[in-house]
Amino acid sequence: MRLYEYEGKEMFKQYGIPVPRGIVVNTGEQARQAAVSIGKQVVVKSQILGGGRGKAGGIRVAETPKEAEEIAQQQLGMELMGYKVNELLVEEKLDIENEIYMGVTIDDVSGMPIAIVSAKGGIAIEEVARENPESIASSLVDPMYGLRGYEAINLVSQTRMTGKALASASSILCQLYKVFESYDMRITEINPLVITTEGRLVAADSRCEIDDHSLFRHPELEKVAVDRIQDFWEREGAKAGANYVGLGGNIAVMANGAGLAMSLLDMIDYKGGHAGCFLETGGGLSRERMKKGVGLLLRKAKSDPRIKVILVMARMMMSPPDAVAEGFMEAVNEVKVAIPLVAVMRGRESYQKRARELLKGTGIKLYLSVEEGVNEAVRIAAK
């Protein structure tokens, strides 16, 4: 789950990382008042969950409270990088001497946290990574102990920072690691970490993403997680405990397990078909998951005339066939829609036999192999 800039900054503040004075607003009038209370030039920043908002006009400087109000009125309700802007962060404008980069994430190969620092931060950080990788320093962190003070000093000093900036940056990095750990994050990033003309270090932005599997430990965030998904069907997918992805073609696909779902999509493409969307339910299928998953695709087909056929692949490893077949039929009986259904029910011999028995005569086209099922779905969709 990705967090808004201001949410990340709240967490930074809790852990003693300096952030600019700022106020979250959702009307022009509030933006004006915020600028008055900050008492100097402000930056009006659109709060969206995607990157690149600066270049798209989502971050603007206001010289006066009146200007802050005008900018706010323009930004609120506007579509930015595919997201609707509902909230703005009005912040004091920093006097920037330098911008550095700081982040903590997971290193894939070692399976350990990795802390990353660059003396050159800002929007060009990825260019820096490609062209001057030596200007970026990183260090693996032992998750049993966290990032120790001296490790942070050693890391930050590799970026040639010295003196007070070195000490402040190292202590901020240690605190950033604590945010990363305490909030179960996949990524925690400050870009840029501004060094002001007075020599203060301030986190001018935040980029935080919490591990979805850990949301139960953060109930206040768990409550808002699903509503934060913008796309209606993706949100419905999340409510059903599944992953929905819209693709634009005419075959709606459901499968349990991400690898299996992707293999199916690849095969559809290889056979000349076009997947319209796919729903991945996770490996274990229960009656409930099956019902919600199939039900979702049936509702999607009902509302979207482009969908010509639904292809369901159920790999019953740990899922009893009776539950799977019953969940399937409950969905079909509940959401009435005239659309061809193709199903591939696979698993140990006894499971697949039983599932096919239960679904026989229901109008669902049952296939014995993945390839036959895909061929049939592609054939129907091409009609």
Partner: protein, 289 residues
């Protein structure tokens, strides 16, 4: 002996009385797995399918020689269960549970490394050595003994691939699902390092997918001539929509790796044939056996 386990491997099940653990224990017993003890805190002294249940791993270890522990406990308790097995000196674990919190996975990995405990998972189907033993969820009737070793990150996909091979008369030496999460106990390349010495395995099939750099690592290992058995591959996700970006940090760590193009390219450069579709895997392998 095959790698990780064989028909004599004595197994403990943590979470043996839960829905998930009990059902899978029953299926593994059917397959012939030597499950000799179980653990569920608060249910010590009871029996599950005639198997003694203990309150803690320590008590189980005091009463039995245990070679491997299978962890089926609910996600919030996985970290504790893994620490417990490691502290009790169990040398090999399979963590089957999915939705394990990421930072718990990081800690389990670090803790296991310290005591040299090998594990696979979490969020994995475990492994099966056809005709010998099953440590996990892979469908016993979908597999048959033979010479192909399969390694995959995906659970249901590896189960499907194994069944397709079985239906085409191609037997398997070991099928191992290492888990689909970002932090797993054993990476694909580490399984390959072990399969090098495995006499039953003559050909290896890597069932990979988009994301991460495991397949690139494997290709590098093969390119260094460290693995001389024939290898074939399949990569799922060629047409998957681009994943959401993981911020700059992700791009800095990963660079351009992780895409299907990167993986297929890496395999092609070291002469590993890549099946175009799921259904092409059996015929590709048939030509290599």
């Amino acid at each position: 002996m095959a790698i990780f386990a064989n028909k004599d491997t004595k197994v403990l099940v943590q979470g043996i009385t839960g829905n998930f653990g009990a059902k899978q224990t029953e299926l593994m017993l059917e397959y012939g797995t030597k499950i000799i003890a179980g653990v569920t805190p608060g249910k010590g002294g009871q029996k599950q399918f005639d198997i003694p249940v203990y309150d803690s791993v320590r008590q189980a270890v005091a009463n039995h020689d245990i070679d491997a522990s299978l962890i089926f406990v609910p996600a919030p308790f996985v970290q504790d269960a893994a620490f417990e097995a490691i502290d009790a000196g169990i040398p090999f674990m399979v963590i089957l549970t999915d939705w394990v919190p990421l930072h718990d996975e990081l800690r389990v990995k670090a803790y296991a490394k310290r005591s040299n405990t090998r594990y696979i998972g979490p969020n994995c189907p475990g492994m099966i050595i056809p005709g010998e033993t099953s440590l996990g969820l892979i469908s016993g009737s979908a597999v048959t003994p033979g010479s192909v070793g399969i390694v995959s990150r995906s659970g249901t996909l590896i189960d499907e691939v194994a069944q397709q091979l079985t239906e085409q008369g191609i037997g398997q030496s070991i099928i191992i699902g290492i888990g689909g999460d970002p932090v797993v106990g054993t990476r694909t390349v580490e399984v390959l390092q072990l399969l090098r010495e495995d006499k039953q395995t003559e050909v290896v099939l890597i069932v990979g997918e988009i994301g991460g750099v495991m397949e690139e690592e494997v290709a590098e290992y093969i390119g260094d001539k460290k693995f001389t058995k024939p290898v074939a591959a399949f990569i799922a996700g060629r047409t998957a929509p681009r994943g959401k970006r993981m911020g700059h940090a992700g791009a800095i760590v990963m660079g351009d790796r992780g895409t299907t193009e990167s993986k297929i390219g890496a395999f092609s450069r070291v002469g590993v044939p890549v099946a175009k579709t799921l259904s092409e895997i059996p015929s590709l392998l048939r030509g290599m056996i």
